[in-house]
C-alpha cells in the first residue's frame, strides 16, 4: 500500500503571521459554483468544512497588497479595506486608515492586553 498523495501534495495555505495552516482548493477571484459572486481580491479559498452544502466556499486569506505575504482573514492578522493589508502593514501605515478603523484597532489592542494580564 502506497501512501496516497492527495494529502501530502495538497496545496497548503500558511498564514505568515499566525501560522494557521490548512489546505486550499482554489486561488483567485472567482471560486467555482459561486454564480453572481466575485471576490474583490485574489484569495486562497477552500470548501466550507462547516457547511453541509458541498458548494459553499470559505476564504482563508490572501496576499497583503503592500508586502505580498500571505495572511489569513483573521482579525488579528489582516484587515480588508478595499484591499488586503497584513497587520504589520496596517500598523506601519495606520495614519492612512480612517478613524473608524484606527479606533477599532486601538480598542482591540486594549481589550487583548486586558485579557492577557
Amino acid at each position: 500500500m502506497e501512501p496516497t498523495t492527495d494529502e501530502v501534495s495538497q496545496n497548503m495555505f500558511n498564514c505568515q503571521l499566525c501560522s494557521l495552516s490548512t489546505p486550499f482548493t482554489y486561488y483567485g477571484q472567482k471560486p467555482p459554483n459561486t454564480r453572481a459572486i466575485v471576490l474583490l481580491e485574489e484569495c486562497f479559498v477552500t470548501k466550507d468544512p462547516f457547511s453541509p452544502d458541498r458548494e459553499r466556499f470559505l476564504i482563508l486569506g490572501s496576499n497583503c497588497s503592500v508586502c505580498h505575504i500571505p495572511v489569513c482573514v483573521g482579525a488579528g492578522c489582516s484587515i480588508f479595506y478595499t484591499k488586503r493589508f497584513c497587520m504589520q502593514c496596517v500598523n506601519k501605515h495606520m495614519d492612512q486608515f480612517p478613524s473608524q478603523i484606527q479606533d477599532e484597532l486601538a480598542k482591540k489592542k486594549r481589550s487583548s492586553k486586558k485579557g492577557v494580564s
Binding site: 499566525c18 471576490l39 483573521g74 479595506y81 478603523i101
Partner: protein
C-alpha cells in the same frame, strides 16, 4: 436621511410580494443562495436585523467620526495606500455580487423612476439595500466559518501533544511498533490519527475499548480534519458504521478488529493500526496485542501504534521488542489531594449500609469554603448501585435543605435518559453532585467537575472456576485508578480530590488493577484462539499470561460443551460457535434452534439473553409498571417473558410506530435494549444463514407488493435517511439547564421529563432517531411475521423450545431444594452442581412465583418414598453471579428427568437401571418397568438427535467452506437431513417431554455418596473379555469403563457402574418382554432389552443407509431384524456369524455360561 423614507409607500420590505421580487434578482435557481433553502430564510432574518441596525445607527447620527480625520494626511508616508477618504462599512467586505444583467432584463435598477411601469417594482435604492445586506450576510457567514476554523486550529496547537507531532510521524515511519504514552487531556486519541493521516498514511484503523468512544472520536476527528460531511473518517461498531470505500481512518472496537483478523488473517486492508487505551488491559485488548505481535512477522510493512496512559509503559515496550516510547505530558490543572479517612465509628460493618456522614461532610465543607458563584461540580465515586442509592438519599436530603445541590446518580443500569442527565448544566449558584460507579473513571467524561470524592472502593467481576460462578466483589482500587479518579477534578481548572482513606492506605494499594484476563472465564477467548488457528492456547505468548489453570478450565468446559474434541481440536459445532459473537451457551442454543422449526423464537431469546435486560430495575417497585408488565410475564421462565416482550413490542411498532416509546415507558422498559435485541437478532440470523444452517431466502422485494408499493417504500427510505442526516447534524447541541427538582425524583417513569428529553435530544423536532434507524435497518412487516411465528407457541412448541434452551444452557442447571415448599417465597433455595444454596435473582419471574417449581403434593401417595413424583423440575439458568448472595438469573424451568436424560453429559446406572446418577451429583430413583422404558426412549432419541445435528453441521460447514450456497432456494431447510426425519425427532422429543409419566425421586448426592459412587474397574467383569459391540451405535464398541467400572454404552451412558448395583444378580434381572415391533418375546436383561430396542424399529422406519455401517447392511433385507445383522467373528467358536447386535450379546453370553 433615512432610506426608508426614500422608499416611498409603495415598497414594503415585509410584503411577500416585494421580497419575491428581490428573490428574482438575487436568489434565482442557480444562484449561490437559492430561494427556499435554509440559507435563504436565514438571509431574510438577517436582513431584518440589518435594517433595524442601520436605522438605529442613523438615528444616533453616523457622521460623528468624520471630524476625527486630522492633519496626518500631510505627513510624509512612504507610500500612498490609495484608500477612500470616507469610511464605509462596505469597503470592509471583499465580496461583490453582480446582478446587473438580471436587473436590466427585469427593467428595474438603473431605469428612471418616472418611466417605470410597475409602481410596486423595486427601484435602484431597494436593490442596493438588498445587495448591501446580502454582502454583509455573506461576509458574516465567512467570518463565522473562518472563526470556527481558526479556533479549531489554535485548540489543536494548544494540545500538549502538538509539540511532538513531527516526532511521532517520524517514529512511525521508521519503526514497526511505537508506544505513545500520555495522560488524560494530552490529545493523543484525537491528534495522533490525524498526524498520521496528514503525513500521508492512509488505511488507518484505531481501536477503542468502548463503542461510544468510536462514535464520538470519529465525529470529533472528522470535524477537526475538516471532513465533517465526508466519509474520510468513519467508525464501525457492532451494528452500525459510517465506513465507505473512501474512508481512510476508521475507529472500531477491539473485538471487531479481532473479527476482521478472523476473516482476513493478514489484515491486508490496513496500513497502520492504532491500539488506544492499552493500559486498560481489557481481555480483548490483551489478546489483540498478542495476535498483532505475531501478525507483524508476516506483515513487515504494517505499522502499529500503541497508545496508553503513562502506566506500566515498559511492559508494552518490552513485549514488542523494546519498541520506542514517546511520552507526552498530560494537561491537567493542579489538584489538591485531601486524605480524609473514615473514622472507625463510621466504618460500615459487614452487611450494613454505608454511613453517609463522611460524604455529607465533604458537601458541607465545599459549601462553607467555596462561594456558590464559583462554579464547579462534584463527582463522587462509590463501588456499586446499592451504595449509590444509600448516599444519594442522604445527599438529597441535604440538598433539599440547602438548595445548593442537584444530586444525580450514574451507573449502567439506569435508563439512558437518566444517564444523560449528568451532562446537563446546573443553574447558577447550584452545583451538581454526581454519585457514580467507576463508569465515570474512564468510560464517561463529565466536564466542569472541580471536586472529586473517592471512596477508594470498586466492585469487580471475578470468576470462580471451582463453583463455575462469577463473583462481584468489593475491592480497594489500585493506585492507577485512584490517580485516574483524582484527574477527573482537574480537567477544566484547578480542583480538589477528597480521598476517604488514609495516605498509608493509598501507599498499600496495588499499582495497577488486575488485568481482565486474570479475572474472567476464558471460554470465549480460547474458542476464538482455536478458530483463528493460533495453536495451543497454553503456549500462546500473552503480554501477561493468564494462569494455566484458567486456560485448562476453559478447555475442559469447551470439551464438555462439544466445541472441542478430546484432542482439543475444534469440532464443527465449535467452529460455528466461534463465529457467533455470544457466550458459548447462547451460541449452542442458536445452533440447536436452527435444526428444528423454532428458529424465530430461539433467535429472539438468544438476542434477549445477550443484551442487558430491558426491564428497568427502578420500575419494579412502581405498581403501574408492574401491572402493565403482567401480561408479558410467563411462568415458564424469564426467556419466555423476554420473548413475549419482544413480540409485543414488534406488534406495537407495526401498528403504532413511534408510539412504542410510550408503550415501553409504561412498562418500565428501556427501549434501547429492544433496539439492540432486534439488531442482534438479525445478525444472528445472517450468521446462521451464511453457515448454511438456515435456508437462504430467494431475493424478494423489500416488502413484496407491486411497483407502486416499492416506490412508496423507496420514498419513505429517502425521507428516513434525510431525517437521520438532519439528526446527526443537530446532535451535540446545547445542554439543558437542570432544575433543582431534577435531583429529587429518582423514579425513571416520570413521563413529562422523558418526553421533554426525547424532543430535546432531536433538536426540537419530535423525531425519535432510534425509530428512524430501526425503520431504515429492518423490514417491519418481515419482522412482524417473524414475531408472529414465535408468538402463541403451542404447548408442544413451548416444551421443545424449553428443551433447546436447556440443552444450550447445560450444564447451568439448578435443583430446587427439597424443603422449598415449606419456605417463604423470599427464602427459596437452589443448588447447582458446584455451588449449594443459590437463590433466584429478584428480577426473575420465579422470584415472585416460586410455587410453580414445587413438586405437587399428590405425587406422594404413589411411591414408597415420599419424594417420588413425576413432576420434578429443574431450572436452567444463564448466569450465576455472587454479589451479597449467589444469584441465578434468566431461568427457565424444565421437567427434570426428561431434561437430564436428554442433555446430561454423564448418566450412570445400576444393573436394573432403577438408580441413575447424573453428572455425578444428581440421583434419580426409578421403579421397575418405567425406568427402562424411559431410559431406553431417551437413548434412542438422543442418538437420533445427535445424528441429525451432526449431519446438519457437516452440511453447513461444507456449504460455507465451499463458498457456494448448498441450495438455491429449495424448500428444504437442511440438505441431507430430510424434513420428515426432523419432524419425527421433534415429535418424539415432545412426546417424551410431555407424556413421560414416570414417578421418580430426585435428590443431590451427599459428599460421602459421591466418593463411593462407582464400582471402579473390575478385572473380572463378565463382559470384559472381548470388545463387545455397542448395541445403540452398531459398529462402536461397548467397553468397560476404565474408571467407573460397568459398561460404557455410549459416550454419556455407563451401565451398571454404580456401587449399589446388584451385579451378582444381574442375570436374575431378566424379565420377560415382548418387543412391540417384532415378534421377539424372551427374558432379557435391561441392557439386552435396550440394545434390542435401539436396533429394532417398526417396519417402514428403517434407516435406509446407516451412517457408520452402510456396508454391513444387506441390500435385500426386508425384515427389520435381518436388516441390522452384521458379520461377527466369535473367537471362541472361531466362526463368522451373521447376527444382530442383540444376538451377538446373547451368543457371547452362551460362552460365558459355559465357561463358568
Amino acid at each position: 436621511m433615512s432610506e426608508r423614507r426614500r422608499e416611498g409607500p409603495s415598497w414594503d420590505w415585509d410584503s411577500p410580494n416585494c421580497r419575491a421580487q428581490m428573490d428574482q434578482i438575487f436568489f434565482r435557481q442557480h444562484d449561490y443562495i437559492q430561494k427556499g433553502t435554509t440559507e435563504h430564510k436565514e438571509f431574510w432574518t438577517f436582513f431584518e436585523r440589518f435594517q433595524r441596525f442601520k436605522t438605529k445607527k442613523e438615528m444616533s447620527g453616523s457622521g460623528v467620526a468624520e471630524g476625527h480625520r486630522k492633519e496626518e494626511r500631510d505627513r510624509k508616508t512612504t507610500i500612498d495606500l490609495g484608500l477612500p477618504k470616507d469610511y464605509d462599512g462596505r469597503y470592509r467586505i471583499n465580496i461583490s455580487v453582480c446582478t446587473k444583467d438580471v436587473e436590466e432584463r427585469l427593467g428595474t435598477g438603473r431605469s428612471d423612476q418616472r418611466n417605470r411601469h410597475s409602481s410596486s417594482g423595486p427601484r435602484s435604492q431597494e436593490i442596493a439595500a438588498c445587495r448591501l445586506a446580502l454582502l454583509h450576510f455573506l461576509d458574516f457567514n465567512q467570518r463565522q466559518s473562518f472563526g470556527k476554523l481558526a479556533k479549531l486550529r489554535s485548540e489543536q496547537k494548544a494540545l500538549p501533544i502538538y509539540q511532538y507531532r513531527d516526532r511521532i510521524v517520524e517514529l512511525v515511519q521508521t519503526h514497526p511498533v511505537v508506544v505513545v504514552a500520555g495522560d488524560t487531556g494530552c490529545g493523543k486519541s484525537t491528534q495522533v490519527p490525524q498526524y498520521l493521516l496528514s503525513s500521508g498514511f492512509s488505511h488507518i484503523a484505531c481501536t477503542q475499548p468502548r463503542r461510544i468512544a468510536c462514535i464520538s472520536l470519529a465525529k470529533r476527528v472528522s470535524f477537526e480534519s475538516l471532513n465533517q460531511y465526508g466519509s474520510k473518517v468513519g467508525y464501525q461498531i457492532r451494528f452500525e458504521g459510517t465506513r465507505t470505500p473512501s474512508t481512510k481512518l476508521l475507529f472500531l472496537t477491539e473485538g471487531l478488529l479481532l473479527r476482521h483478523i478472523q476473516a482476513d488473517g493478514a489484515l491486508e486492508q490496513y496500513q497502520v493500526l492504532i491500539v488506544d487505551e492499552v493500559h486498560e488491559r481489557h481481555l480483548h485488548c490483551d489478546f489483540l496485542l498478542g495476535v498483532l505481535r505475531s501478525l507483524l512477522l508476516c506483515r513487515p510493512d504494517l505499522r502499529l501504534v500503541l497508545m496508553s496512559a503513562t502506566i506500566n509503559i515498559k511492559l508494552f515496550s518490552d513485549y514488542f521488542n523494546s519498541a520506542p516510547v514517546l511520552q507526552v505530558p498530560g494537561r491537567l490543572f493542579p489538584i489538591q489531594v485531601m486524605y480524609q479517612p473514615i473514622p472507625a465509628e463510621e466504618q460500615p460493618s459487614r452487611s450494613e449500609k454505608l454511613d453517609p456522614r463522611p460524604y455529607l461532610r465533604v458537601l458541607q465543607g465545599i459549601d462553607q469554603r467555596y462561594p456558590p458563584e464559583e462554579r464547579g461540580d462534584l463527582l463522587l465515586f462509590l463501588s456499586g448501585v446499592a451504595e449509590i442509592s444509600t448516599i444519594l438519599e442522604a445527599c438529597q436530603a441535604y440538598a433539599n435543605h440547602t438548595k445548593r445541590w442537584i444530586v444525580l446518580p450514574l451507573h449502567s443500569t439506569l435508563s439512558l435518559a437518566q444517564q444523560d442527565k449528568v451532562f446537563d448544566i446546573a443553574p447558577p449558584g447550584v452545583r451538581k453532585c454526581i454519585i457514580s460507579t467507576n463508569i465515570a473513571e474512564t468510560s464517561v467524561t463529565i466536564d466542569g467537575v472541580r471536586f472529586v470524592v473517592d471512596s477508594g472502593k470498586v466492585k469487580e467481576m471475578s470468576f470462580d472456576p471451582k463453583a463455575k460462578m462469577q463473583r462481584l466483589q468489593e475491592f480497594w482500587i489500585s493506585r492507577a485508578s485512584s490517580e485516574q479518579r483524582k484527574g477527573r477534578a482537574g480537567r477544566t481548572g484547578p480542583g480538589v480530590c477528597y480521598r476517604l482513606y488514609a495516605e498509608s492506605d493509598y501507599e498499600a494499594f496495588a499499582s495497577y488493577p488486575v488485568p481482565e484476563i486474570h479475572r474472567v472465564a476464558l471460554d470465549s477467548l480460547i474458542l476464538q484462539m482455536k478458530s483463528m488457528g493460533l495453536g495451543d492456547p497454553r503456549s500462546f505468548i500473552f503480554i501477561d499470561p493468564p494462569p494455566a489453570s484458567s486456560i485448562q478450565t476453559a478447555m475442559t468446559y469447551l470439551r464438555e460443551q462439544g466445541a472441542l474434541d478430546p484432542r482439543g481440536e475444534l469440532t464443527s459445532m465449535g467452529s460455528l460457535l466461534a463465529q457467533l459473537p455470544v457466550d458459548v451457551v447462547i451460541g449452542k442454543m442458536l445452533v440447536l434452534g436452527s435444526v428444528f422449526n423454532l428458529v424465530e423464537p430461539v433467535l429472539t431469546v438468544a438476542a434477549a439473553l445477550s443484551v442487558q435486560s430491558p426491564f428497568l430495575r427502578s420500575a419494579q417497585h412502581n405498581p403501574d409498571c408492574a401491572t402493565a408488565r403482567q401480561p408479558l410475564h410467563s411462568n415458564q421462565g424469564d426467556p419466555f417473558t423476554l420473548l413475549n416482550t419482544f413480540n409485543a413490542w414488534v406488534q406495537v411498532k407495526g401498528e403504532r410506530g413511534g408510539a412504542s416509546r410510550k408503550w415501553c415507558r409504561r412498562r418500565g422498559l428501556e427501549e434501547q435494549r429492544l433496539y439492540e435485541m432486534v439488531n442482534l437478532r438479525r445478525q444472528f440470523k445472517e450468521l446462521l444463514r451464511s453457515h448454511g444452517l438456515l435456508e437462504v431466502l430467494e431475493e424478494r422485494a423489500p416488502s413484496g407488493g407491486g411497483r407502486g408499493q416499492r416506490r412508496e417504500r423507496l420514498t419513505e427510505r429517502r425521507k428516513l435517511h434525510q431525517l437521520k442526516r438532519e439528526h446527526d447534524l443537530a446532535e451535540g447541541g446545547k445542554r439543558k439547564v437542570l432544575r433543582l427538582e431534577d435531583g429529587q425524583e429518582v423514579d425513571s417513569g416520570s413521563d413529562t421529563d422523558q418526553d421533554r428529553r426525547g424532543k430535546e435530544a432531536t433538536g426540537g423536532q419530535d423525531v425519535d432517531i432510534q425509530e428512524v434507524k430501526f425503520k431504515l435497518r429492518h423490514n417491519l412487516s418481515e419482522l412482524q411475521e417473524e414475531a408472529a411465528a414465535s408468538q402463541d407457541l403451542s404447548s408442544r412448541q413451548q416444551s421443545l423450545l424449553k428443551l433447546l434452551l436447556c440443552r444450550g444452557l447445560y450444564p447451568q442447571l439448578a435443583l430446587p431444594d427439597e424443603h422449598n415448599a415449606n419456605r417463604k417465597d423470599s427464602e427459596q433455595v437452589f443448588h447447582t452442581r458446584n455451588k449449594q444454596g443459590v437463590v433466584i435473582h429478584p428480577t426473575s419471574v420465579f422470584a415472585s412465583d416460586p410455587e410453580v417449581l414445587h413438586v405437587p403434593e399428590e405425587g406422594n401417595r404413589e411411591g414408597p418414598d415420599k419424594g417420588d413424583s413425576s413432576r420434578h423440575q429443574l431450572l436452567a439458568f444463564v448466569t450465576l453471579l455472587e454479589t451479597n448472595k449467589p444469584y441465578i438469573s434468566n431461568c427457565v424451568r424444565v421437567p427434570a428427568l426428561q431434561a437430564l436424560l436428554l442433555v446430561a453429559n454423564s448418566l450412570d446406572s445400576n444393573a436394573d437401571c432403577t438408580r441413575l446418577v447424573v453428572d455425578g451429583w444428581l440421583e434419580v430413583g426409578l421403579t421397575g418397568e418405567g425406568a427402562l422404558n424411559v431410559l431406553s426412549a431417551a437413548l434412542t432419541l438422543r442418538a437420533d438427535w445427535e445424528r441429525l445435528l451432526l449431519a446438519q453441521l457437516g452440511q453447513g460447514t461444507l456449504g460455507a467452506g465451499g463458498g457456494s450456497r448448498a441450495k438455491s432456494g429449495g424448500g428444504l431447510g437442511v440438505p441431507g437431513v430430510s424434513r420428515k426425519d426432523l419432524e419425527k425427532l421433534a415429535d418424539g422429543l415432545v412426546r417424551f417431554l410431555l407424556y413421560t409419566e414416570v414417578s421418580y425421586s430426585l435428590c443431590r448426592l451427599t459428599g460421602l455418596q459421591v466418593q463411593n459412587l462407582y464400582v471402579g474397574p473390575q478385572p473380572q467383569t463378565e463382559l470384559s473379555e472381548g470388545p463387545a459391540p455397542n448395541p445403540l451405535f452398531p459398529g462402536k464398541e461397548v467397553k468397560p469403563d476404565p474408571i467407573k467400572g460397568g459398561l460404557r454404552v455410549t459416550n454419556y451412558f455407563t451401565y451398571n457402574c454404580l456401587t449399589d448395583s446388584k451385579d451378582l444378580y444381574s442375570e436374575c434381572l431378566r424379565t420377560f418382554w415382548t418387543c412391540p415391533h417384532c415378534d421377539l418375546y424372551s427374558p432379557l436383561t435391561p441392557l439386552e432389552r435396550m440394545s434390542h430396542e435401539a436396533t429394532c424399529k417398526p417396519p417402514g422406519e428403517q434407516q435406509p443407509c446407516q451412517d457408520k455401517e452402510g456396508e454391513g447392511v444387506k441390500a435385500a433385507s426386508s425384515s427389520s431384524v435381518a436388516g441390522l445383522t452384521r458379520v461377527y467373528h466369535c473367537d471362541v467358536c472361531n466362526q463368522d456369524l451373521t447376527l444382530t447386535s442383540t444376538e451377538i450379546l446373547k451368543h457371547k453370553r452362551q460362552h460365558m455360561h459355559s465357561g463358568r
